[in-house]
Symmetry: C2
Subunit: 555 residues, 2 copies
Amino acid sequence: MAQKNILFIMFDQLRWDYLSCYGHPHLETPNIDYLASQGVRFERACIQSPICGSSRMSTYTGRYVHSHGASNNRIPLKVGEMTLGDHLRKLGVQSWLVGKTHMEADAEGMARLGLEPDSVIGVRVAECGFDVFERDDGMRPEGPDGAYDPRGALAYNDWLRAKGYDSDNPWHDFANSALDADGNIRSGWFLRNSAYAANIDEPDSETPYLTGRAMEFMEQAEGPWCCHLSYIKPHWPYIVPEPYASMYGPEHVLPVVRSEAERQQAHPVLKAFMDTPVGQSFSREDVRAAVIPAYMGLIKQVDDQMGRLFAWLKETGRWDDTVIVLTSDHGDFLGDHWLGEKTFFYEQSVRVPLIIRDPSPEADATRGTVSEALVESIDLAPTFVEMSGGAVPGHILEGESLVPLLHGKARETARDCVICEYDFSGAPVARQLGAGVTEAQMYMVADERWKLIHFETGDRPMLFDLENDPDELTDLGANEAYGAQVEAMYAKLHRWARRISQRTTVSHGTLRAARSSKRGLGIVIGVPEEADGDPRLTVKYQPRAGRAWWDVKKR
Amino acid sequence: MAQKNILFIMFDQLRWDYLSCYGHPHLETPNIDYLASQGVRFERACIQSPICGSSRMSTYTGRYVHSHGASNNRIPLKVGEMTLGDHLRKLGVQSWLVGKTHMEADAEGMARLGLEPDSVIGVRVAECGFDVFERDDGMRPEGPDGAYDPRGALAYNDWLRAKGYDSDNPWHDFANSALDADGNIRSGWFLRNSAYAANIDEPDSETPYLTGRAMEFMEQAEGPWCCHLSYIKPHWPYIVPEPYASMYGPEHVLPVVRSEAERQQAHPVLKAFMDTPVGQSFSREDVRAAVIPAYMGLIKQVDDQMGRLFAWLKETGRWDDTVIVLTSDHGDFLGDHWLGEKTFFYEQSVRVPLIIRDPSPEADATRGTVSEALVESIDLAPTFVEMSGGAVPGHILEGESLVPLLHGKARETARDCVICEYDFSGAPVARQLGAGVTEAQMYMVADERWKLIHFETGDRPMLFDLENDPDELTDLGANEAYGAQVEAMYAKLHRWARRISQRTTVSHGTLRAARSSKRGLGIVIGVPEEADGDPRLTVKYQPRAGRAWWDVKKR
């Protein structure tokens, strides 16, 4: 079987339930729904950390955050961590980046090992294993102290300027800002400005731009390749050009998922997150009313771009040579549970859309089906390895290949729980909670029914019954009647915490073979005398004529 | 204060209680005892894995096995792991190796990163951070399929041959073998041959050889340096030349620590270790009678060499410029608990001698004292960093600096337990137990009173009361009356298992500072409108005159 190309599409902050195939009642996404009809839609896909960089590093390394250590944005992925690019390269598949990774290079580690940042290997290490067609982390914020990411949106800004968008930073001034009635630029950074349309011709906005770049990549690429087409949107700044800006209104905004009781009785750590400025902002109806229609418009645009991309793949004969994977790095609370953003463990954040279309005949049996299997983002790297004809290196990759599910050979993954982690040690909320840098950690462990959240702060855990309380409005963590469930979930968390994750230099097969190795390299342990030993192994050590040292030295 | 040199002496398989300062009634070790009288002797020093390579990798990296992954001999330390050599080099201290490390280089990882094995950086990565004065892993076994370690004892063998020891492998044929009454070479690999004297002039045997090499190193070295003088002995082959071969007899052999009941009721995993050939051999009195006097002779020789070395340091004016650290990588069961070798968690294996003499006046207050603090081998790397004037990088090093204890500023370490790990996934005993490569793991967690052993095989834990049963003859793990103790020790194990160990690219100080950072780089999160923002941060985004995109593009 010829190796297929892999088009690995990721959106940023795309909430799982904001697609019609995942059940949104007002947001029609026929193109993504079509992809689902041609592949498998995973209903329970969980990311490994509710923050861009860490979630992605888990996806790219196929390893938990606890294993790779890049536990928040701007915490570099340490040199030496292998990524899907490294694994696929061994199989003759080149991995290319078109868009965002949120990778932060381990400059100190690279310098220690003498890796030149501009060498082929240096670039790969710095870009988490990808070769770069275009890196666009999608944001070019600039403040009084400079740019957040000096490389942000560089090529996109050049492209916009060449098209006539006359500004030092057209990414901000046009693509992510509006023009108000008085002729003023109103920044999309401010949530109420989401009600405006972005001041840009829609085909020039970020999502269509990146779609075009992916096509340009594919036109010149020689396979087999894995192309990571990684969009910034619907991530903030929440602002979208027309016609998407006017598509949705208050009548399309889903009711907020929250209760007064959950705020009144909130766990202390949850309370601290509710009390952050972003939690307070998204608890306001005016903010939700401005942001959510824009967020929906961004997703509608995403879907249209998927339509454009899929049509092009078909026209150019690539549709049946290309595995398509579509997912997100995490969701967005949008005010649910009195929270904004994503840094907590409710389903709105940790569950993501995941659709995989494998064009091979082996996958025909599952086309259009929905899988309820417990799937994690770390499953993608091993899936890509198996799809590319490789054996999954289970001593490095902690996920499971989903190929058996895609080919109808299995209905479940082997795991009995999923794990998500969040490190808030560098966040203001940690200061507020008085948590040290090793205590500002939280873990989620969830199975089909129960979700436990453990805090390293010393606070009690939270517990949710996902079956009877799918909206997660009732925290059972303080309810003694659920002690057994808490204990059972802790047992799963701790089995996971104890796992061997750093023995990455020797394969499982090598270890198994070592158990019965009969290689005779001369080590003899615990053998009382010559006659007791395995003759083959001890042949070199049988008694034989020798000389006394004093005779030897006298010579 | 000028940086001191650090002479970091390690013995291999030196059991903690086989020195007179640690209470051996028959084995007088006046030189090591003298060192203790000039420094601090740690009574409760615990290694991190009861196997040479893994224990050493923890000592050199300052990190638990669970963190660095080199969980048994011949499992390479993965490229990127920092070692004490890396940490000290930053402080201007060069770390040099004279002797054994048991390091296995990550050749695949080095190739992936393009590190040349013969470059300065490549050699350091391959030698776990040391520059090499002499690498001598101390063994040159050879069998029908070749040499276990083609680099083993290379320089020593050349040196012996130059002295007239005429053999392809004088390490084996002279230093580690005897000559019997019939003029036959009798290999020291066989335990009963330990009763013979090694066929070598004592000053030419390994321990004096390496002592001499250390002196040669120091004679030419420019400081500040850290010299890892790392002896192979009293590790097997258990054979020693005269006069040490005749020094000890059956009357000096301590009674074996074991009971018939512990064998009859042995935990299934313990039983499997008892049933190995080495367990069975060391359960024989004839084997103990042959081996233990040789083992004691080897230690007596070690002590005499320490006398030689200390005298030389004084004569040459180095004694007061040099911190001396003396320890071992693990112990030896010698038949106790029906076991041989070291791969289980009884005190005979996991507790090691540790003596530190800091010549600085700050340490005068503690000279000759004994510390009962819970100390681990991973504490040495941070201790060396602090002694060299550095701040301990707590985001990488998992141990604690012992300097406060040495200077009388603290009596205890901050930890409330010690951890030891053993990975037997590549050992025949795992096959016998039917354990998979991720299940053939065991963990020890111990505090001043209790020791719990957890098995990943699914078997029940073991529990010992170290206060009332210091010989660890009664396993309480199956006794329901001790459920609370089991639970309490599991809580400690699991707090440890959850620890953040891979976030090694950002310091704790940087994370703390990030909590209150007011750097204005233009990211604005959760701010409803311009008027709500921190003016300094949002100045760039205030409404200002702009143009509509259609006007811009028309231009």
